[in-house]
Amino acid sequence: MERRKTLLDFMGHVLIIYGFTMVCMLCFAILFGESAKEYSSFLALGSKGVTSEVMAQLLFLVVIIEVLQATIGNENIIKFIPVKLKSICMVLFVFITVILFIIKFQWFPIGMWQPWAMFILCFLICFGMSTYLSIIKTKMENQKLSEGLERLKRQWKEEEQNES
């Protein structure tokens, strides 16, 4: 049986996502920090990294996303909703949450179209990549399941032959 998720599992996931987000943020800061520091509170330190304020905001965002994930993905909380609909809801909720954070903490000037275009592009790339990776992972798992089942059936056949 699957082990029940604990608070430690939740915190573990949060820290993994947060760590990955911070690495991405540092890459962004190194690549675009200097040119964006004038108008983005997100990259106010330029190529030197991100402020502790932004770090705290990102941690808060990651916690919210993890709570959404734990709620939408939990079969005991939300039942009878098709997987595809759950996935669409999850993407929409994450998208809306990030937009709210952008507006609330003014990560970039909301009147400029260029940062919005970049944000949507980044979001689509991340979404596309994660979808592609989960499809690949499912295909690999299917392959392994099929091989495992074949192996087990051969084993049963051999056992039956040995018995008779």
Partner: protein
């Protein structure tokens, strides 16, 4: 209820005999449990009782608190609870697939992983059953995937 146990060294097989005024659901259940020890299931269809070979059973399902046994071409009702069946049948490769169903592993012809970590099992009669995430790990471990 009077229980008499006789031990006889010359006996070649264990014999259980029940003497009663008439068959009650409790007695039927007791018989079904005894049969299960012999790897046979008692199924009821259209008022008639059938003896089913465990290996021919595809899966056992609960619908509206009633337990049904599914074979390739028939459905039978049983007096036993799902957990009682699970307890005995786990010795012969039956496993819990979700809250209301136990599946005969040997009757699965293919398994497919779903994107939400559930598994879809195709049975030998072509029927497809879902194995919930909670129980999918057992299958993965059994198949050496995990």
């Amino acid at each position: 209820m009077k229980i008499t146990i006789k031990t006889a060294s010359e006996a070649t097989d264990t014999e259980v005999s029940i003497t009663c005024k008439h068959l009650t659901p409790e007695i039927e259940k007791m018989i079904a449990m005894l049969r299960m020890l012999d790897m046979q299931l008692t199924g009821i269809k259209e008022g008639e009782t059938y003896l089913l070979d465990v290996s021919k059973v595809l899966y056992i399902d609960t619908v509206d608190k009633k337990v049904f046994i599914y074979t390739k071409d028939s459905v039978y009702e049983t007096y036993l609870h799902l957990y009682e069946l699970e307890e005995q049948l786990s010795k012969v490769d039956f496993f819990r697939a979700n809250k209301s169903c136990i599946i005969n592993f040997k009757q699965i012809i293919s398994l497919k992983a779903e994107i939400d970590r559930k598994l879809r099992a195709t049975m030998s009669n072509g029927e497809q059953l879902m194995i919930s995430r909670q129980y999918a790990d057992y299958i993965k471990e059994r198949l050496g995937v995990k």
